[in-house]
Symmetry: C2
């Protein structure tokens, strides 16, 4: 039962990754429609041995489409996703446009797959940092409710798309050649530096990325009382976000219990070898669909045994975006 | 009242910074003795317009020396510091050799200057990440006791000395030239990557750096009940450590109160402009003696108003090492 698939934003970093993941996961595609802005229309893209021409996205683009992956920014989703739904497609939207909207399932398949079939034409794919945190924390939360989380992120430049990756590359090359470091995308130099995540600061003092981690996790876990504070930081790493996660559970929890739960959790790979000082790293998480989890230890700042610290690393373009969306589509079929 | 000063480890990264800071802070030096291993003996080093020859460190090196700065590793301090003390010098030791020893003051001058004069010949300079955390947290702790802290670090490669800096430089240049990335010092690639701090993992699951932050802070603050959990991470930044700090106070605390306290705190500079997305960054903390503090906000994961989040950045070679030690020596005179 192959289906007709459209990719909106096909020429972007995540759009390109959609193609890679669709091929790797052998997603049953009948016809593939690649959509982008007028500027990118006409470009040729190879997929599974065939060449496809990128077409301009219009409200009439979606006739006969069954699944439409959107990844071209919130404004594009707000403008064109309703037209896709009206044409009969199920939209899996990678932007933040509809994530917090009531009636729109926000899904990490390892966490809340039962939400997928409640859609009204729209399913939202969560923020990348949120997904990477949710995959390892959810199985622990199910076993012993997490009351509060303190998370600090180490986020790769490609979280800002292909332009972010180019900016790091150009600055590295300029630095190595002794030249001037120029900025185009980020508000600050990224090579040899790091900075608070370059999203808008909300009235509560948190930036948008941090508020997404808080609010989306509550919706995905179905636990509006879950307390989270996050500090999101951009680091000079090309790909894969890392996160230091401090968890406060309802009841005591041991590192051994955490290891046992995570060892059988889907989408998780434990990388935790204290002897060799070998733990999750972005270079090893890149290109992987699993979230790497390590530094599993009892939080020594709590005497009641209810604290656990973790360090995780996950590919935010794959599991944090394309893979998660394709997994949603797989379950939809 | 100029004094005779010795620097042990004069050719290392911190040793070199000692010279810079001694000159900048116009430390009153009568005679300067530069000591290092036999391998470095004979090297010439310029200081304040004069050329000095590095001499080999021996137990007889310290005759007539009043202040000896040690920064050549714990083993060297353990072997030679007692000889310096015996010769009548006050040793200000930048290694971890004596930090937790009873009777040895462990001093951040902004925090516990009263400890300086309790020395028995030895004063310990704290770990760099500890100092950078202590400078902004102490004035808050004094106003409203901190019960618990959750800290995640973003540590520069020069925390591992000049060799760490060289390793990042070489890997950046190899990467830019399309060549093979080689490792010598760190257990993992550092360019385009980050990893859990490369110090030994203790039986409690924390690495040495993390345990230093916990235990040293308790000693410096004189508060053995202070609860801290830390996750220390090495990032591809040449200089200045950053830290995401979550604080739980005994009583409610507002961001406005924090700002007022930090605005008049010594050694702190507030860099906190949400409008411009401008907060502490390693490129701006490098070469500075102040610790930059920003992202000052109410922790939304606590409903009792007792939580505050901060993001800080400080030069770990200066305030985290050389500057702090020279400030101790200044107060000693």
């Amino acid at each position: 039962m192959a289906v007709n698939v459209a990719i909106v934003g096909a020429t972007g970093a995540v759009g390109q990754e959609f193609l890679t993941v669709l091929a790797q996961l052998r997603f049953p595609i009948k016809n593939l429609l690649l959509l982008a802005s007028a500027r990118s229309a006409g470009r040729k893209i190879e997929f599974a041995g065939n060449s496809y021409t990128v077409e301009e996205l219009t409200k009439g683009s979606f006739k006969g489409i069954q699944i439409a992956f959107f990844s071209a920014g919130g404004a594009v989703s707000r403008e064109f996703a309703p037209a896709a739904v009206e044409a009969g497609a199920v939209v899996i939207d990678n932007t933040s446009a509809f994530r917090m909207k009531e009636g729109v399932p926000l899904v990490v398949p390892e966490v809340n797959p039962e939400q997928i079939h409640k859609h009204n034409g729209l399913i939202a794919n969560p923020n990348c940092s949120t997904i990477i945190m949710n995959v390892p924390v959810w199985p622990l939360h199910k076993a012993n409710r997490v009351r509060r989380m303190v998370v600090s992120t180490y986020q790769a430049v490609s979280g800002a798309g292909a332009a972010g990756l180019r900016e790091l590359e150009q600055q590295i090359k300029a630095y190595a050649a002794g030249g001037k470091i120029e900025r185009a995308l980020f508000p600050h130099q990224i090579v040899h530096n790091l900075f608070s995540h370059n999203s808008k600061i909300a009235p509560n003092g948190y930036n948008e990325e941090e508020n997404k981690m808080v609010n989306e996790t509550r919706k995905i876990f179905g636990d509006p009382r879950l307390m989270i504070t996050a500090t999101c930081v951009r680091v000079p790493v090309p790909r894969a976000h890392s996160e230091a996660i401090n968890l406060e559970f309802e009841r005591p929890m041991t590192p051994q219990q955490v290891r046992e739960i995570l060892a059988r959790a889907p989408g998780v790979r434990i990388v935790d070898d204290p002897e060799k000082n070998y733990f999750p790293m972005p270079v090893e998480a890149s290109g992987q669909d699993d979230v790497l989890v390590g530094r599993i230890r009892q939080d020594i700042s709590r005497e009641d045994g209810r604290g656990i610290d973790l360090f995780v690393s996950g590919d935010q373009v794959r599991k944090g975006a394309a893979t998660n969306a394709v997994q949603i589509a797989q379950r939809l079929l």
